[in-house]
């Protein structure tokens, strides 16, 4: 397994190098002068030239690339044109909100998807199955931005029971920064009121983000379990008098886990990309909104850094998924 991991890590390095070259090249090919953007529309030519020199944009392209790569190895992604802060600092500021959102959404989609998919398969053709199929079709076919807007309309404007967005109520001070996860930091600060407020603010965005992903898992679990439930060993287990609950849980569900894990890994990409719109609509200061701002503001340094970070995260998640196959199924061998 160690060899497998090493091989994957080496290929990962090549992949990230490719991403680096590609994003750097794209940023330089695309039209637009970051120096003018920083200096502003009212700046004279002298000020724009000075900013260009400060950013090193007047250097030959090869030299700019060397600076860029060496900066990355020192954890320096350059400076954002929009926020003017070091991008590494911006990532530390904005990434936790996205992480918190994606982690909670992935847990809900996994737990909900497996539970509903299993219930649907077990009650195939029954009312539960029909209801779950409606949920999964709804989740797959309705765009998350629409769901987000409707959720805001119903739960904030009409019913007034949930906040429209943001991470905490207006005027409430953030807990001291430890992890950047509000739910964790508020607990570390011993502030249960903040913890409850943070969770309340997470309900709508997490649910909206989780639904499409959960719909995919429901479909996979249902199909896989239906196949497994018709297998000989399930009939044998039933014949041996094992309780239906044990049959479903230990025999059927346990043997359906591999495709679920695969889909779960793939879904992380869906969740990260879905976070862009969800953060925008729910006004969450996460990496998704930061990315949207970077794209609309042609903040190339930020776009390059985010692409690299998200690619790395995606690669790591898929590596973990591959490794988990071994744990879940002893027959799987990693070569």
């Amino acid at each position: 397994m160690l060899r497998f991991i090493l091989r994957r890590l080496v290929s990962t390095l090549f992949l990230l190098a490719g991403v680096m070259v590609m994003t750097f090249a794209l940023a330089r090919i695309l039209p637009g002068d970051p120096a003018r953007l920083i200096a502003g529309a009212r700046a004279g030519p002298g000020a724009v030239a000075a900013v260009r020199a400060q950013l090193g944009l007047d250097l030959p392209l090869a030299q700019q690339f060397v600076h860029y790569v060496s900066g990355i190895f020192h954890g320096d992604f350059g400076r954002s044109i929009i926020t003017r802060r070091p991008i590494s600092q911006d990532i530390l500021t904005f990434f936790p909100a996205t992480c918190e959102l994606v982690i909670l959404a992935s847990l809900i989609s996994l737990v909900g998807g497996v539970a509903l998919g299993a219930a649907s398969a077990v009650n195939s053709s029954g009312k539960t199955d029909a209801a779950v199929r409606v949920i999964s079709v709804f989740g797959l076919s309705v765009p998350d931005f629409w769901m987000a807007l409707i959720a805001q309309l119903i739960f904030f404007s009409v019913l007034g029971i949930l906040p429209f967005g943001g991470r905490l109520a207006t005027g409430v001070a953030m807990p001291p920064y430890v992890t950047g996860f509000l739910s964790v930091d508020s607990l570390l600060a011993g502030r249960l009121d903040l913890f409850a407020d943070a969770l309340r603010h997470m309900i709508l965005p997490v649910t909206v983000l989780a639904i499409p992903s959960m719909a995919v898992i429901i479909r996979v679990v249902r199909t896989t379990m239906l196949d497994v439930l018709s297998a000989d060993y399930i009939r044998t287990a039933r014949a041996k008098g094992i309780t239906p609950f044990k049959v479903y849980l230990r025999h059927a569900l346990a043997n359906s886990l591999l495709p679920i894990v695969t889909v779960f890994g793939l879904n992380m990409g869906l969740l990260i990309s879905g976070a862009v719109l969800v953060e925008l609509i729910f006004n969450l200061p996460g990496l998704g909104r930061y990315t949207a701002d970077a794209i609309s503001g042609s903040d190339y340094n930020a776009i390059m850094a985010i692409t690299l970070v998200v690619s790395a995260a995606y690669i790591v998640i898929n590596l973990v998924v591959d490794l988990s196959y071994v744990l879940l199924d002893p027959r799987v061998e990693l070569k």
């Binding site: 695309l30 039209p31 637009g32 002068d33 970051p34 003018r36 953007l37 200096a39 502003g40 529309a41 009212r42 700046a43 004279g44 030519p45 002298g46 000020a47 724009v48 000075a50 900013v51 400060q54 044109i81 929009i82 926020t83 003017r84 802060r85 911006d90 500021t93 904005f94 195939s124 053709s125 029954g126 009312k127 199955d129 029909a130 209801a131 199929r133 409606v134 805001q152 904030f156 404007s157 009409v158 019913l159 007034g160 429209f164 943001g166 991470r167 207006t170 005027g171 001070a173 953030m174 925008l280 609509i281 006004n283 200061p285 909104r289 930061y290 701002d293 609309s296 503001g297 042609s298």
Partner: protein, 553 residues
């Protein structure tokens, strides 16, 4: 469909069959519930409760985050700076030409207007506790002028701050100018580059000669204004609390805390206002403004600004002949655009100058919508039928206006290609030096003056001596225009100078058009009815005088 699927489908239909009666009943119930909760019955309840919010805290929702709070480099809206910093003088209320003391308690000028003296009150402190005396003010201005790559290095028009800014004593500061500047007080009241930041904070946290404390001040602003920053959550909100030692005092009603929240979507800003969660919303979409205008729970501070949105003509290409530009000007129907598209939330421009600009007068120079006249002008100019033109605009700004122009130009036999670019790519082309055949023929942009003076507004845009990089993106060159603009430099606008301004408006809008002005923006601040003291100055773009706001009991 397999047999199993068919059975499942049947089972589904049985389980989820919804009669039309049930559907209608459910929809009606939901609708009734929604109407009951949505605040549509506002006529009966003009006072919107603020719930458990602190009445001494003001919550303002804005469309864009101010990420940079260093006044030496901030090129964004100044609403983030105005609570923290002060300028030496400030424009009085909504007056564009009347100055009142701010950080300086008094100011005088020599007869030749080459020496300006500002008197500071004694004992003024920055938020970091250091003295805001004449030496500190000089150091702050010097930093703005000398910081490499500083956008506002030329704002003060002072080449040698060490010599030209003279500290007479701890509270007296003199500016020795190299030419007579009769409205220097108006200039130092401007919002671009004139705020005073603590030089001690800048120096203590400087990362070198290129930085001069800018990185620190961007997120840790230190001024001497009425509020100091309490917290800054990038992309989310900024909280300010009152600065107890503010030299202006806290005797009359003020807010103790101010929170500016960034909510990019206009509809969401409106929802928050209607739910009573916020007090003021800036920059709403026309539809939201129009609807809130009829809501008695809110007041709308609706004032004209000095910002003109325009289509600039590239005069060095296909549009070199003024008659072709005149024809295009005749092909834009301002009246229907302002009525049907922007729903009356903007003003009809009168010329390339903002209507309130000194000297420009009340006449309208904008060429009337007349497609027949436009066709005749094109024929006279031998402009080939079936010509193709390109207009460039940036994402989210000018797309509707360019589409309208496209429609009207098609009636003249001109095909207008729309080219939407990112803001960065747009600026690159707009201010760039590419030859005419590699640029668009028209651009959509907007501009406003730093000071209500025609020279300040016109030189960089229309003078033959100004390059595209300076702002003359149309590469406009007209000897009479250049001469008239030069003659206005540092001149008070009396009757004689006003004639020159009118002549400029006539040439630039009618005879040899540089631009097609599309609209003059209005600024609409929507506030709860209990918020008092809202004033908008046309020169200060989207900037609230937060210190003078209060909540009525």
């Amino acid at each position: 469909m397999t047999g199993d699927d068919s059975k499942r489908s049947h089972a589904f239909n049985q389980a989820w069959h919804l009669t039309r009666r049930h559907f209608l009943a459910g929809t009606a119930a939901f609708g009734a519930a929604a109407i009951g909760r949505v605040p549509m019955s506002h006529a009966a309840t003009p006072d919107l409760p603020i719930g458990n919010r602190d009445p001494k805290t003001l919550v303002v929702v804005v469309d864009a985050t101010v990420e940079n709070l260093d006044p030496a480099t901030n090129v964004e809206w100044a609403y983030g700076l105005s609570p923290i910093y002060e300028t030496l003088t400030v424009l009085d209320g909504a007056e564009a030409l009347k100055v009142k003391p701010s950080l300086a308690k008094a100011f005088t000028s020599s007869d030749d207007k080459m020496i300006w003296t500002f008197e500071l009150p004694a004992g003024v402190k920055f938020h970091d506790g250091t003295d805001c005396d004449a030496n500190a003010v000089k150091a702050a201005i010097t930093r703005t002028i000398t910081r490499p790559g500083g956008t506002f290095a030329t704002s003060w028009q002072i080449d040698d701050p060490e010599k030209q800014i003279v500290v007479k004593n701890a509270t007296t500061l003199e500016f020795h100018l190299t030419e007579a500047r009769p409205f220097f007080d108006l200039e130092v009241s401007s919002q671009y580059g004139f705020w005073i930041a603590s030089p001690t904070a800048a120096q203590k946290n400087s990362k070198g000669a290129n930085d001069m404390g800018s990185e620190f001040l961007q997120s840790h602003p230190v001024g001497c204004g009425p509020y100091k920053m309490e917290s800054f959550n990038p992309g989310q909100d900024i909280t300010y609390v009152r600065f107890d030692e503010f030299h202006g005092g806290w005797d009359h009603p003020h807010f103790e805390r101010v929170i500016t929240k960034t909510i990019p979507v206009s509809a969401t800003r409106r929802q928050l206002l209607e739910a009573g969660e916020v007090d003021i919303a800036l920059r709403m979409e026309p539809q939201d403004t129009v609807e809130l205008r009829n809501d008695p729970r809110f007041v709308i501070q609706d004032t004209s600004t000095a910002t003109v949105q325009y289509v600039v003509f590239a005069t060095d290409g296909k549009l070199a002949d003024p008659r072709v530009r005149q024809a295009i000007c005749h092909a834009f129907d301002h009246d229907s655009y302002l009525r049907d598209v922007v729903l009356g939330t903007a003003d009809k421009p009168r010329s390339v100058f903002p209507s309130q600009m000194q000297g420009v007068g009340d006449e309208s120079y904008v060429l009337p919508f007349d497609l027949e006249k436009a066709k005749a002008l094109l024929a006279e100019a031998n402009f080939p039928a079936g010509s193709e033109l390109t207009v460039t605009y940036y994402s989210g700004f000018g797309d509707t206006e360019c589409q309208l122009l496209q429609g009207w130009l098609s009636e003249l036999g001109i095909t207008l290609h729309l080219q939407e670019k990112s803001f960065s790519a747009f600026l690159d082309e707009f201010f760039g030096d590419a030859p005419a055949d590699q640029r668009a023929d028209l651009f959509y942009f907007s501009w406003w003056p730093n000071v209500d003076h025609p020279y300040n507004y016109a030189w960089s845009l229309f003078s033959g001596a100004a390059t595209a990089a300076s702002g003359n993106a149309g590469r406009y060159a007209n000897d009479e225009v250049t001469k008239l603009i030069d003659e206005l430099r540092q001149k008070l606008i009396d009757t004689e100078q006003a004639q020159k301004v009118k002549r400029l408006a006539q040439i630039l809008t009618v005879e040899n058009p540089a631009w097609l002005p599309i609209q003059q923006e209005r600024m609409q601040f929507v506030a709860r009815r209990d918020i008092k003291g809202m004033v908008n100055n046309p020169i200060y773009v989207a900037t609230l005088d937060i210190y003078n706001l209060s909540r009525s009991a």
